[in-house]
Every structure is written in C-alpha cells, then in structure tokens.
Amino acid sequence: MSQAKPRFSPAALLRGSLVPVLVIALWQILSTSGLINPVVLPSPVQVVVRWWAYLLPTEAYDPAQSSWILWALSGEMLFDAWSSLYRVVLGFAVGAGLALPLGLAMGGNPRIYALFDPLMQVLRPIPPIAYIPLAILWFGLGNAPAVFLIAIGAFFPVLMNTIAGVRHVDGIYLRAARNLGAGKLTMFLRVILPAATPYILAGARIGIGTAFIVVIVSEMIAVNSGLGFRILEAREFMWSDKIIAGMFTIGLLGLAIDIGMNRLNNHLLRWHRGLEN
C-alpha cells in the first residue's frame, strides 16, 4: 500500500528507465552503424516516425468533408485498432456469453455436469488456432471466422472458472440464504452467482488474454483490417519500421484492455476481502 509513493520518486524513475534507455541506445547504434541492413532492423527513430505517420490521418483536413474530430481519428492505426478491439469484444461476448450460463448449470447441477463434461474435456485441449482451417471452411473470410475463433479462445477459460466458482461457494452462505427462505432462483442469482464472481472474473481475464492473441492471428489469415493484418501487410512491402510500429500499437491496445479489465474487476469485486492489496 505504501509502496505507491516511492515508485514515482525521481530516483526510482531513473532506475526504472535505465535498462529501456540502454536497449534503445544500443539498438540505435546497431542500426545506424551500417553493420545491419535497415530493412532488417530499422532504427528506433525511424520506427517512431513511422508510428506517428501511422497514427496521423492520411488525407489533408477538409472542413467541407467532415468534422475536425472525425478527421483526427481517421488515421489508419486508429481504424485498425478499432477493428481489432471490436472483434475481441464481440468474440469475447459470444464466447463468455455461452460459457457463463453453461458453467453455472454445470457447476450447480451434477447431472448437467456429467452430461457435458466429457465433450468439454475433449475440446478444451485443442488450441483455438487449430480451428482456423475449419473456421475458414465454415465461415469463409471476413469477420465471422475471426469472431468464431476469438469466441472459442474466450469460452473455455470462462467455462472452467465458472464451474469452479460455483463449486467453491462456501456452504455457510447457502445455509444462511436457505434460512432466510431463499428459493432456488434467488439462491442462484443472489447468492451463488455473486459468490462465484471472483472466479468468473479471473476466468474472464484469462479469456480476454486468449482472445487478444487469437484476434491478431486470425487477422493475419482471415481479414483485411486490424492490427494483425496490418503488420503482415507491412512485411510484404518489407516495411520493417511499420511492423515494429504495429507491434508497439498491439502492445498498447493489450495494455489498454488489461487496464479496462482491472477497473471492471475492482469495481465488481469492491466487496471482496482479498482486494485491499
């Protein structure tokens, strides 16, 4: 708790930036020394310039065409990032949306569990990437196969954690609720579901992490937009600076998703004892 302050002290900031600065300096020296072909390794300055160009709008500002804000957001990068994010969110919503009710049912009812568990155990070890040929065969190219793959990536972590969450609900809450007269539905919605949320959210975090990996891969294969598509496209033109700039953007988007998940987690689990850090 009290560690938050020293982390932002000048000394700590200096220590923290030491290694990155050294790595970038070394990289700059290597790439400008002439020892390495700049197509293989562009200089960091070149990457930053390219990243900036990737961010900026491609067309000149024309007030007659659109508003200032729309123009400012019309750059290629923001469009790509938006496309990727849209797929992650949609795919995750589909995958988690199916996994949550199934997980609740399987966790809460041994018969449903016995019915579905064998199938789940067979399907679970198959990496989502392995579904790519099938996804293209079934859905063709475009958003549909990407969303399908992402949904599969998100499905299993959420399912497994939801089952575990329901099973680990402390019996004392069930007894207290029964004593208060809770029926089956109330018990499920007001007691079991909230009691299982720490597990479910942990599963959701793993699921969205998987979804983010899968979106990049599926964009390299099935669609013509998004960050994954863009860096593969850049390779065809041998634009190594744009590849690295795109990777950097992927990292930023991943970080943004992670921060968003963290916020959501902290809000939904504000009652949770383990959360005071």
Binding site: R178, N179, L180, G181, G183
Partner: protein, 281 residues
C-alpha cells in the same frame, strides 16, 4: 439440591404459563466417520416454551451445534422428531432465524442489503422494506454503517448485522450458535445486553448455544447442560435471578461453581478423547 438448581417442574418462572413451542422428542444423531460411528446426540427430549431464553451449554464436541441444526432444519436427526408449534421440522425456514458464529453475512451485499435480503425474499414492498431496515439499523446502532461492506466492519459490528438480518424476518424463534464466541469481552458484554434488551422488547423464543458458563448464566432462563459423546442432556437448570444479572453476586457464583463442576466432567472426557485420537495417529 441447592435452591438454584430446581427442575422445571417445581419452579414457576414467567414463561411457565406459555405454551411449549419447540418440542424435541427422542432425537438421536449419528455420523459415520470412516468405519467409526459417532453418536453426536442420543435420547434428547426437550421442551422449550414460547418466549423462553434457553442456553445449550457444554464443552466443544458435545453436540450443541448438531442439536441446534436439527431444530433449524439443516440436519435432520437420525431418529426422533423436532416439532415447532406442532409442525415437524424437515427443512430450514424463516420462522427460525439463525445467527451463526461465523456471521455468514453475504460479503457482496452492503449492511443495508444484507438486512433487507430476507424481506425481499418475503416479497415485501420496497417502501416497507426501507422502513423496516431503517428501524433495525437504528435498533442495532448500525445507521452509520449502512453502505459498508462486511469486510470493512469489526467482528462485533458484523454480528450486529447478522442479528438485524434475522430480526428483520420477525421470526418467533431465534437460533444462535455461539454468536459472540469470537468477540472480545467488552464487545461481547455489550451485545449480550443488547440481545437481552431486544428479547425483552420483542418477546422471541431464543435457543442459544455457548460453551461459556458465565454467558449462559448471564443470559438464560434455563440452561441445558450437555454430556460429551454420546451427547445427552446432563442437567436442565432453571436460572431464577432478576436481570440484569450481577456476575459478582453470591448466587451467580454459586451457580457458576455448580455448572463448572458439571462442564468440567464432560470437558475431561473430551480431553481424554482428544489425547486418545492423537496417540492413535
């Protein structure tokens, strides 16, 4: 027999006029632990009158919780019956509000939401719930904590919420399993006094489990002393002292000595059992 240790039949406490509300008949409860059979309760016959404050007293492991759970409907007895107002108990219900030692508050609900939960289940209107919750929060001095989550409350405060939560149900019977066992002495005394005040005000039947002799004398109309394995009723002691009771009064101490004697006998059997089970490992 000292004048303090009269049987129920030859005293005339206030509750004597009241009808029997909880009737335990020939209750036996056994648990199978591996190949071993544990007789947690045997031959329990007990009548509790409407409005009585009864303590179950005995060392750990003598079946107090098992008996309370049978009345609550969580664990049906192996043999025998429990009836409440003539109806045989088969499942838990809001007519027998339970307060657990572990509080058992729902950590995802605020204080006010915890108290309101039972009323929502009952299907009471929003306005009625709000009014009743408010009244209970005032009564248990929780009004400044209404929007806190249980994790941000002390043990004493949590138990106040748990008490408010069952009082909300307005059930005629309160079952309490060592509710103050985890609290410090001062908090414990405060909550004991508040419980007595509420009991006198709203007139509930209370079955209260404790292993503290002092607590049982301080609170109860009647103390049921239990034996250890098999769990039977060793003694049914009427406490005929005006409240608030003074822990330094001679009759309080006389009763305390007698009860200590009884509890110690059972405690020793419990300790021997523990030593045996440790050396057997």
């Amino acid at each position: 027999m000292t004048p303090m240790l009269k049987s129920v039949a030859d005293t005339a406490p206030v509750a004597d006029a009241a009808p029997v509300q909880i009737q335990v008949r020939g209750v036996e409860k056994t648990f199978a632990v591996g190949a071993q059979k544990i007789v947690a309760l045997q031959n329990i016959d007990l009548d509790i009158r409407k409005g009585e404050f009864v303590c179950l007293l005995g060392p750990s492991g003598c079946g107090k919780s098992t008996l309370l759970n049978a009345v609550a409907g969580f664990q049906p007895p192996t043999k025998g019956t429990v009836t409440v107002d003539g109806r045989t108990i088969t499942e838990p219900g809001p007519d027998r509000g339970m307060v657990f030692q572990e509080y058992a508050l729902f950590p995802w609900m605020t204080v006010a939401q915890n108290v309101a939960f039972g009323l929502e289940i009952k299907g009471m209107s929003k306005a009625e719930i709000a009014e009743r919750v408010e009244w209970l929060l005032q009564k248990l001095h929780l009004q400044d904590f209404r929007n806190r989550f249980p994790k941000d409350l002390s043990g004493g405060m949590r138990q106040r919420v748990a008490i408010a939560r069952v009082l909300a149900l307005d059930s005629p019977i309160l079952l309490m399993d060592e509710p103050f066992g985890a609290l410090d002495a001062l908090t414990r005394r405060t909550l004991q006094d508040e419980l007595l005040r509420i009991w006198e005000e709203v007139g509930k039947t209370i079955l209260f489990v404790t292993h503290s002799i002092e607590e049982s004398i301080y609170l109860a109309d009647r103390i049921i002393v239990m034996t250890y394995r098999p769990g039977t009723i060793k003694r049914d002691v009427v406490v005929d002292m005006p409240r608030p009771r003074d822990g330094s009064a001679p009759e309080f101490n006389r009763l305390k000595r007698e009860l200590s004697q009884m509890v110690m006998e059972e405690q020793q059997r419990f300790s021997q059992d523990e030593i045996r089970s440790v050396t057997a490992d």
